[in-house]
Symmetry: C2
Subunit: 403 residues, 2 copies
């Protein structure tokens, strides 16, 4: 498996990207509109936020994806088109219509996504012009791909893109992806915006299953602030341009799934590492729970505790906060069976603090990567969550992000 | 109803308090141990944390309260005696034994509570000496009461105490209370430490019912960081020294309940106002839900969202964060029925942003008190939660609170 780090979204054959600054974002010349286009008819799959309040583009894309045929994504950043009522719905539908016309494809082959501030109507004149400009600028160079990764950013400080090249039946298959964070990240099905492209050919049903599997082990494992967005969308287009077709669950599919897993988990981890104000990347493993669900609830309870997150920020092994956060996850526990490791150092063993070297532990927490391993001693199920710390910078970004 | 603001916990007749600095806290001369004592035999009731990981003193006090007879509380601050295994349990039992001996009462008439850092064994030599000193210093002056309020503080910046004097059957009845915050505050039955005294006489069962009612409308309505503590205890002693006895649900009980409600809600609000780093006091009303439980889940989802809390800190009417936090509470919503007011200004009406004066709204958010009213349009149930904002100061306090 070869990893590609530039031009990623257009690395698979037969894909183009086009972007522009159309004036939605306040910062001038900051790309805020983009199109990803397959030169060939293609299948598609998508997962969406489970927030009960979801944006107009999600409402539209949920409908379109049902047919399983997708050739393009059109998206804007700077405005989420969420909480915008019927006008918002009409605007999202209009984005689809304009893009379909510019790309000369059917309106039901195109997904739409938006990200940014909630509760403002889209500036449709700017967007209409922007879609035209982006469509006119479509291309397959690395710069086209990199610009697309930048166009979906909001408070992200870095673009997040990766691609992998796989050998399937001696042919090259490529999977590319871009994503954006960096706040409103909480695990539940799709999280944040993520666009994926591949030149394999695959029926939409099977593609959907692969995407779901990959999301489960990547985007559903991350949380930054526990606040689930109204706009989360993860979508993939498979256009068959590699000449490789996968139609059943065989060893080819396994290779493809592993490649897709690599792309989505790399992107998901990149979101956490670029979490708003994040200074730490924290892996939380909850071990020996009665069920996967109970393990997950405890892992997320720990990950979302502001007291745990601030202790991590302070590089302080305040493990009482970790154990007590596990205790209020709504899962029955036996304290005398609970064991905790931080950075592989045993600090709490079956309900009792150990005599571990706290200074050594504190020093180890100065590292950017921190691991928390909580063993419950109740069953055979585990779960893992990736998160970051809570810093002054998070407060600054979110208290000063003025509407 | 007369409100008393000094010496509160010893304002009811027949109560004494004694405190000392015994060396648990690092800050010298900062009171860290206290005893509240009834001169007469009394009934008692208590509510405890529902965290699955609960401290040794909670384990002991849960047993003792079953008999419903309580004459004294003994407590320390600076060390929670939580996650301390069997030795912690023995130490909490030893605190009861020493205090009972010093006070010359039975060991099953005494509740024990601890608050502070988790996972450290108590310095029992210091505590043994401290209990003796506190017992020797028992008294009923205002200074005794005020010192007791200070002795339970941890990161609190202010002491939190109140008492009320009521007329029942032309006799004076007094209810006094003290509490402490200021982090690890999340609603679920008892929250934080709160000790209450009254000179009414009441059977333990009825007293327990009154306490539960009051907690429901006070301590269960507050959240600071959603992190439920291992040590939360709310307890009351009723010693009958006023000569007033209430044994059934009559108008006398109603007067008493109102008085107790006033004391507990004043104390609960004081915790929020003194929340770690808090600059805002925020009331969140969720209206017209299908059930009280659904209203409560949405109110808490909003209150615990770091994005909502930082927007409040920034005095920014970023109402999209409020509506989207409602959307991920796990309650089915109809966006086209959702209406939002901030500080009584209508900003989102049945799924559409209004043309309200955002500048006026921003200005109104400079006030310390902020109200958020979310109408769901689904049913007839409401709930209210009180919370605070998330500030730089919160991060400073909790990142620098070193173990």
């Amino acid at each position: 498996m070869e990893v590609i780090t530039t031009g990623c979204i257009v690395a698979p054959r037969g894909f183009q990207a086009g972007t522009t600054y159309c004036g939605i974002k306040i910062t001038k010349d900051s790309l805020d509109l983009g199109i990803i286009f397959s030169e060939y008819p293609a299948t598609g799959a998508a997962l969406f936020t489970t927030n009960q309040i979801y944006a107009a583009p999600v409402r539209i894309s949920k409908k379109i994806i049902k047919k399983g045929r997708v050739r393009a994504f059109v998206m804007n950043s700077g405005n989420a088109n969420a909480c915008t009522g019927e006008q918002g719905y009409k605007d999202a539908a209009e984005m689809v219509r304009i893009a379909a016309r510019c790309l000369k494809i059917s309106e039901d082959e195109l997904l739409v996504a938006s990200t940014g501030i909630i509760g403002r109507l889209l500036p449709m004149d700017k967007i209409a012009a922007g879609i035209q400009t982006a469509a006119n600028s479509l291309g397959s160079t690395q710069e086209h791909g990199n610009a697309m990764a930048r166009a979906i950013m909001t408070t992200d400080t870095k673009q997040k893109a990766v691609a992998v090249r796989l050998k399937i039946n001696k042919k090259n298959v490529t999977i590319g992806g871009i994503t954006k964070g960096a706040g409103m990240i909480a695990p539940n099905l799709a999280t944040t915006l993520c666009f994926l492209t591949t030149d394999v050919s695959m029926p939409a049903m099977l593609l959907n299953e692969c995407l779901r599997n990959s999301a489960e082990s990547s985007f559903n494992r991350i949380t930054i602030d526990g606040h689930m967005s109204t706009n989360d969308t993860i979508a993939i287009i498979a256009n068959g341009a590699s000449g490789v077709t996968i139609t059943e669950k065989n060893s080819d599919l396994l290779i493809f799934q592993q490649g897709l897993d690599y792309v989505t988990s790399t992107l998901a981890k990149a979101i956490v590492m670029d979490g708003e104000g994040a200074t730490k990347f924290v892996q939380i493993d909850v071990i020996s729970a009665r069920s996967r669900n109970e393990a997950a609830r405890i892992a997320r309870s720990i990950a979302d505790s502001p007291l745990v997150k601030t202790a991590l920020n302070g590089e302080d092994p305040n493990w009482g906060r970790i154990v007590s956060a596990a205790g209020y996850a709504g899962v029955e526990l036996d304290e005398s069976k609970v064991t905790l490791f931080i950075n592989n150092i045993l600090i709490f063993a079956k309900g009792m603090p150990t005599q571990c070297d706290l200074n050594a532990l504190s020093r180890s927490m100065k590292d950017r990567n921190i691991t928390i391993r909580l063993e419950l001693g109740l069953g055979n199920y585990n779960d893992t969550v990736w998160t970051c710390d809570l810093s002054h910078e998070y407060v600054t970004i979110n208290a000063e992000y003025h509407t």
